[in-house]
Symmetry: none
Subunit: 219 residues, 2 copies
Amino acid sequence: MRILLIEDDKVLGMAVRDQIAADGHSLDWVERLDEARAALNGAGFDLVLLDLMLPDGLGVPFLKALRQRGDVTPVIILTALDQLSDRLEGLNAGADDYMVKPFDLEELSARIGSVARRYSGNPNPLVTHGDIEVDLAARRITKGQREVSLTAREWAMFEAFLNRPGQLLSKAQLEDKLYEFGSEVESNTIEAHVSRLRKKLGQNVIKTERGMGYRLGPA
Amino acid sequence: MRILLIEDDKVLGMAVRDQIAADGHSLDWVERLDEARAALNGAGFDLVLLDLMLPDGLGVPFLKALRQRGDVTPVIILTALDQLSDRLEGLNAGADDYMVKPFDLEELSARIGSVARRYSGNPNPLVTHGDIEVDLAARRITKGQREVSLTAREWAMFEAFLNRPGQLLSKAQLEDKLYEFGSEVESNTIEAHVSRLRKKLGQNVIKTERGMGYRLGPA
DNA sequence: ATGGCTTTGTCAGCTTCTTGTCAGGGGCCT
DNA sequence: AGGCCCCTGACAAGAAGCTGACAAAGCCAT
């Protein structure tokens, strides 16, 4: 899980960083709101930890602006303020949770887990192969930056290769993957599909082993 | 905020009471519908938490009667029932939200906050997708400047897409979301609903992946 | 209950896309 | 050279999907 920490207190930040690392998440740490804006504009984070008092502004207006822009990344507020009004203000601004300093790092872990579970619309694990990125769960493929769309048969075939990276697959084996038992294919269907896959994904993705079959080429 | 809890399970009730107290709200707790009626006749509550199975009756007729009388107090249903039909019935009866036991108390807090926000004039966080704005909490959608109203099934389907943006959803998966297990749909129901959604939200919102399913298209 | 309105599952006819097949061409090995 | 295997553009048949229409069921207000 990718987490963005917006916090100017070095001591607290380091503690949070270590805890998050221990939980197996990856952390980006910025100390100012303008850095945070830049970071959020780029790739999608799964969670934001937001301090409310920062050198270049307050967290609540920042969060409001974020939501205004349609960003729904879960946000947990970290703050020394403990007034109820502050708490409501934070949640009203669109925060998902609220932690008062000094807080227990174990508790932070628990809440991160809870938020993560609640918003399980996170990016799925990606399989990468050269410049090709595959999201198996979502059935999405990108080559370079461009989205590639595969048909059902193409996907089935590519999946077969991904499941056995580098391993040789005979045409017979591929046929078994693509078709029900018994449905005889009597021509060069497999070859045709390989050709179509190569056209979409690149010529060197699938390697021909003459007389034997195909294999996923090295990245 | 004044909250009325109608719940006969002592253990759950105490847990909810503590959570609500921790959130700084005030709570009245009754265990029967007739007590609830008495309580609601008096001063105005800001929110009602309603169990569906109570010693002296069911929650849904109670809620219907309440709405019939013109009472618009927000109601969140708490129940062990998880059938889609129950869910639809509850929302149709006039509930604002619905939580299935056993639920996370943190989540209860969040939903209480959300309902409170909805009725306090503060906007909820919006999910935007192209020119479509979705207020998940309030179940409202606008396209361009125009308000779009979805039916129950349409909403269920669109929600499924929003929860997994960009991910491929097979027709079987969508059926699972829209219908209870076992209820066989033997025709192109899903296609028909997709068509209706597209008509309301725009043709490019839901993308067809022939032979595989549908996905929420890029904004 | 009663009548009107909405929702929704189903169907039929039509459109669109996939995909198995083929044919012609090219490369590799003996 | 010859034989074998493989590649790929083209194409047609059929599968999959779309959508307007309709009817049954549900919902609401009277």
